[in-house]
Symmetry: C2
């Protein structure tokens, strides 16, 4: 029973104590620390990137998507492009300068700040609403006239010309969208939701929220959707909303002569995060006319940090969007918006159908959930595989990107025009309120090749805008409108087209393809169950859409609310929930949600809310990678410049040393950006002395605000003479005297939770034992990435 | 310019460094540390309380409500009673024992855990739905028969007898409710929402979620509402939901022979918090039939910590509630539920009224918002004042409580029966779909003293259940039903009655009184604006209710959604939002929301999400109050027992000392509850040696699970012999080796954010300088309370 005092099996770690005796069942010998690239080490790459030299040679050396993407790298693939990434910092910095902060002192400024916050929420709402409306009206008109013209040619039996016109229009629009994307803003390709999600997690990929991205996102999305691709405008709308918010928040740029004093309040990552959260919510609200759904989307899917006050501001923004949209729609009822009818903004009213259900209906609903789960996870798997393939093509250059888009466009056109020939004509049902076949407007019954009094049900789905096709599928009291074979063909085509379309260089949302495919098999199941079920086939389509959405996106409450707001029927709630619950649960057992998958694929170092289980077997000290560069409280200017030049670190610990204190002590952390501003002020002295308080008065808190990308002071901007290099500078005024710290023996899992919950960029690791330097290292986002940790400890079981 | 190296003005703090030179403009001389009571010091009081001796002498010595409530005390007023409070701990504890946790190792147990989580969500939904339905059916029948009987007597012109019967019934029901509350479960008095809110913030007040509280809450609420009080059943439903969740989570009690193995998973504060969040949401869903509103209520108002996974589980629970309620209502349509019609569960359908509005309507809406803000903050002010007065009476004993209830009941009866005599009879409008006056059922047109063909509009409001009165006020297409004078009288009476009723010893919700008063002045404003406004007066009533709710409760999104779900009209959203925004903003400039106010009044140490501004002028080391009791890694049993007996601390730092290490080092934190379990296992040894690994095998993680209140091992249960007292015990296996730490120079504001964000109970403060003990002190919830800090530093400006 008894043991010796210090068992010789005690691990040979420097800080080993009885406390850690039981901790290590794994060999704690770090591997090859030099390989670990620090996300905070990105300074130089960014400088190089921002300085305008398009030296992409370092990119081609690292084929990011060839094999498994290395998310510990400091470059990520955003859109279809490779770009440097930067961590965001949500910590409230407390140093002597910031103590004279406007918030604490001046009531009038707090009032300004609050007014401005709400004014910005209003502006984001107005802007996003306006863009959403413009987007819809443009798509409806471009796609509408194209389809009408084709329809006219078809009724004249000039089939080949009709196909030529149809495919030609699509090709032109697609090529224009691709060119915009490839040449102007590569970051605008794709959905945009993964990037916004990553931004709200604290990862800023360059140019993801830039004005050029906004421009291309809006017009590329209009062109892409009009080109008949199986893509939605919902994801792009979210990205658009976020871009608008970011643009407003970054206001006051000298470039555009917008140096309004008030705008300085938002020059920090925290406030920008809040604005962009509002923007993302506004985007969903504008896309679906779902204000509550937008808020819940931002809360559930987009945001990583949330607080109660933000809930209200977000809701205000989405309500503004709803009001703007409503005002415009009322204006358009007079017919002054061209082909834009009520339909433009999707709103599928199914409230006329009775939502009474019995046991067989529930069985059908459960079946739908299962199908949704399986098809959904398969969808994610295939999209993931295809994205890796497309990456080969896209990285070859802009011309290849456009070529890919053109190819997909031709395939889409062929499918949409070719497949309806497989369908036989159906006689128009009697007692219809709408005309059949529909002529000169979008509608349920397209004649295509059929004679008068007949319609082609497959053409009614294919040769319509996506919104109208969904409306047709959701339509109630039209049990027999689509044949089972039609639905089967349409489902197969849309499912495949949706997969191959995502990832090409156009702004492409995922909601619409998924809703389309889901609604189709939902209606199919409805047809199969029609003998024993009382539910309307339109409701089956809705439930099918819900199931596939649940299976791919894995959102829950927000999807539920979006669907209910779309369909204006609260009574379906229990069924929609059931279907979402089943499909999400099934799909979760196969793979991750599509947005999470894309975030990972793009190499964005996303921090999960939970720590991985294996992190419990490590402590903070285990993953600290060096070399650590520290400054003394009063440091020689030359040393600082040297450190700034030779490392890419964004945070440097400041240590007070003798003769000021008996033993070295951690004073705090100083940021690269603050150092640059401070050095630019040249508050140097010849001796090692504390600086005067007057020096602090020379700076305002706002001088240290975060500049827009590429606008801050750069290292090259500093003009320090040789003489000044030998002088000293007191770093205390700009040192964050209260950095968050953990002791080196802290469990890595708990350190990760701390890091994530507080939204940190740097976390100082302090030693437990005495007689050592007062700081062991700094942990950054990168140090919590599985790839980094498992790279250091390759023998660790990641699932344990 | 130049200064001496170490200015002599440097503050005389032990850890002073150049870093802190600028920090202290305030005299940092702590006052009288001994007065600061530690919430963690409550051990002995709780023991005394739980041991069944109703020794309340220590309560009367501290008249908590006489002057300003001292929230640094370890006792709080819950319901109308004084009871000890305890902090909850959401930290994931990592020690050698817990490393063999079931979560990390055993897949099958994780599956069990997940299944159980969902099963519990289902059970909570079912339970709350059932109780909600039962509550409604009971109230409708008791109050309904009472009112019908009175109505019969009135039609026979036996007015005095009618009053006697009415007042007598009310008195009896009220006395029964008060007796239940006063004798069985004093904690059941009041709304319950503040207590649930406090629990979810980490404060466990004794018996607040006990089975007896649940029982009294259900039946007391039924009796109280039936007694005609101006109280709602909504707040109590939230509390009921939370109680049901807690009861389920605490399952597996030996007392009731429910020792199902699976139930052990939830024996920790984190999982219970999640369950109770679901319960609170289910309560709102059951009260208002608003599943989405319930989720948002839990998110916005109730919960202090939230995560995405919980959103889904909460939503599932509320959907179950909605399904259960719907099933029961369908069952009741057959007429088998007595007087329970569709009306029982409040649902005011206003969707028939057109929600078109123009500029004058908007002006009226803004006016409503302003009125709501002013009346709402006044309401809060008056309730606060009155609660302090009532506390005098309530603390005198159960008989006084009942007397107060009886008095208020008589006042209410007199108002309800007396005031309608002021109203003249109105001729029934023609072309009504309902009978006028209504006979034998609840309805819009009460005859009271009027002859056939006439009705008394004031009686239609007073002599109805509260739900029916609201329905009457919300009714659309009935512009002229209520005269302006009637609305004015009713508003005055209800506003005053609502204020004087809250705080008496019955379960009393605040929603209904506020909705009633708000809807009345909303309708009043509607009548005043009827010449220039197009909005229906029923919609005005809805907006009025929204404005007063916003003015008192200060919730936003959740109120909005609850109202929309109640009234089944999404198109009103923009107006409701506008009104809420205005009223909340105005009211916020006067005082806090009513629930926050009650939490404060009750002395519950609620942690706000934001740190107070003055905390930025302090560091963690400034508020640490002693004396600190630490244990050595291998400690003498007698020392531990002595510390447990003489202090009330719930956490003790463990320090590894020579000869195991060269210098003392912080090993971690050990909890009182874990110590008791561990000592009970008697793993002692004669010498100071590390214990065998086999000893760990003797315990399972679940042995250390948190027991239900009063069920854990107590200090008196330990049977340690004199000989054993001199032996040693190795504390490492139960020491949480990764407690969260801050350095003593950490800004208090940032330490507070860390404490709150991570949901901690203890936070270790470590020194920055070397050569000192490895821990300076422990911060607990109490140390972040304004009262404590401003008690230590009375010269500090709390607003700076």
């Amino acid at each position: 029973m008894s043991k010796s005092f210090l068992p010789d099996r005690l691990p040979s770690l420097t800080w080993s104590s009885p406390c850690s005796y039981f901790r290590d069942h794994i060999p704690l010998v770090p591997m090859d620390q030099e390989n670990g690239l620090d996300i905070e080490n990105d300074g130089r790459e960014i400088e190089r990137y921002l300085s305008g030299i398009s030296d992409t040679s370092f990119i081609s050396r690292e084929p990011l998507l060839r094999k498994r993407v290395n998310t510990t790298s400091q470059i990520a693939i955003v859109g279809a492009n490779v770009c440097p990434i930067e961590s965001l910092d949500y910590e409230i910095i407390e140093n002597q300068l910031f103590k004279q902060d406007w918030r604490a002192n001046k009531k009038i400024q707090i009032f300004q700040y609050i007014v401005l916050k709400w004014a910005f929420a209003l502006l984001i709402g107005l802007g996003t609403g306006l863009v959403g409306f413009f987007n819809n009206i443009a798509v409806e008109n471009i796609a509408g006239f194209k389809l009408l013209f084709v329809s006219d040619l078809m009724s004249e039996k000039r089939y080949y010309l009709a196909f030529a016109v149809y495919a030609g229009c699509n090709l032109g629009l697609a090529a224009a969208a691709a060119a915009l994307c490839a040449y102007v803003a590569p970051a605008a390709a794709g959905s945009g939701i993964p990037e916004v999600k990553a931004y709200l997690n604290g990862i800023d990929a360059y140019s993801i929220l830039a004005p050029s991205t906004l421009f291309v996102k809006i017009f590329g999305s209009i062109l892409g959707v009009s080109a008949g691709f199986v893509v939605g405008k919902e994801g792009p709308m979210v990205h658009t909303g976020a871009c608008i918010a970011s643009l407003l928040g970054q206001g006051g740029s000298r470039k555009y002569r917008l140096t309004w004093k008030w705008l300085r309040y938002f020059k920090n990552d925290r406030d920008r995060r809040d604005l962009i959260t509002c923007g993302a919510a506004a985007g969903v609200a504008a896309a679906f006319r779902a204000p509550v759904g937008g808020v819940l989307f931002a809360l559930e899917e987009a945001a990583s940090w949330w607080r109660s006050a933000l809930l209200w501001r977000t809701f205000f923004t989405t309500a503004i969007v709803a009001i703007v949209l409503r005002a415009f729609i009322e204006y358009c009822w007079s017919g002054s918006c061209g082909l834009f009818g009520q339909g433009g903004l999707i709103m599928y009213d199914v409230s006329s159908a009775k939502a009474t259900y019995s046991t067989p209906d529930l069985l059908a609903v459960i079946l739908l959930g299962v199908i949704g789960g399986i098809f959904g996870s398969l969808y994610n798997y295939l999209v993931d595989k295809l994205l890796r393939t497309y990456a080969f093509i896209n990285e070859k250059g802009a011309a290849f990107k456009i070529l890919l888009v053109v190819t997909i466009s031709i395939i889409t056109s062929c499918c949409a025009f070719g497949l309806p020939w497989l369908a036989e004509c159906i006689e128009c049902p009697s007692n219809l309120k709408v005309s059949c076949p529909t002529v000169g407007e979008s509608g349920n019954y397209k004649s295509f090749q059929c004679q008068s009094g007949y319609y082609n049900d497959l053409a009614s789905l294919f040769l319509n805008t996506n919104d109208d096709a969904i409306r047709n599928l959701f339509s109630t009291d039209t049990h027999k409108e689509f044949r089972i074979s039609t639905l089967f063909i349409f489902f197969t085509a849309i499912y495949c087209l949706g997969i191959i379309t995502y990832g090409i260089a156009i702004p492409s949302g995922l909601f619409i393809p998924v809703i389309l495919a889901g609604a189709t098999y939902g209606r199919l199941v409805g047809r199969l169950f029609e003998s024993i079920s009382k539910l309307d086939t339109g409701l089956f389509a809705l439930l099918g859409a819900a199931s596939l959405l649940g299976g791919t996106m894995r959102m829950t409450v927000s999807l539920c609310i979006i669907l209910l707001e779309l369909t204006n029927d609260l009574l379906l709630l229990p069924l929609v929930m059931l279907v979402l619950l089943i499909s999400k649960t099934i799909a979760d057992s196969f793979n991750k949600g599509i947005y999470d998958q894309i975030v990972k694929l793009k190499g964005l170092p996303y921090l999960e809310a939970r720590a991985e289980p294996y992190m419990r077997n490590l402590v903070a000290g285990d993953v600290v990678s060096g070399p650590l560069v520290t400054f003394s409280g009063i440091e020689r200017v030359g040393n600082i410049l040297h450190a700034l030049k030779t490392t890419g670190h964004n945070g440097f610990p400041v240590i007070d040393e003798p003769p000021f204190l008996d033993t070295p002590e951690l004073c705090g952390l100083v940021l690269r950006s603050h150092l640059l501003v401070f050095l630019n002020g040249k508050n140097f002295s010849k001796d090692k002395v504390l600086c005067d308080k007057e020096i602090i008065q020379k700076f305002a808190t706002f001088d240290f605000g975060k500049a827009g990308s590429g606008k801050g002071i750069k290292l090259e901007d500093l003009d320090i003479s040789e003489e000044e290099m030998e002088m000293f500078v007191d770093l205390h005024p700009i040192t964050n005297a209260s950095p968050y710290t953990v002791v080196e023996t802290m469990s890595l899992a708990k350190a990760a939770i701390l890091f994530r919950q507080l939204g940190l960029r740097h976390m100082c690791v302090v030693p437990t034992s005495q007689g050592r330097p007062p700081i062991v290292g700094i942990l950054t986002r990168h140090d919590f990435m599985s790839e980094h940790i498992l790279g250091l400890y390759p023998h660790m079981n990641p699932h344990k």
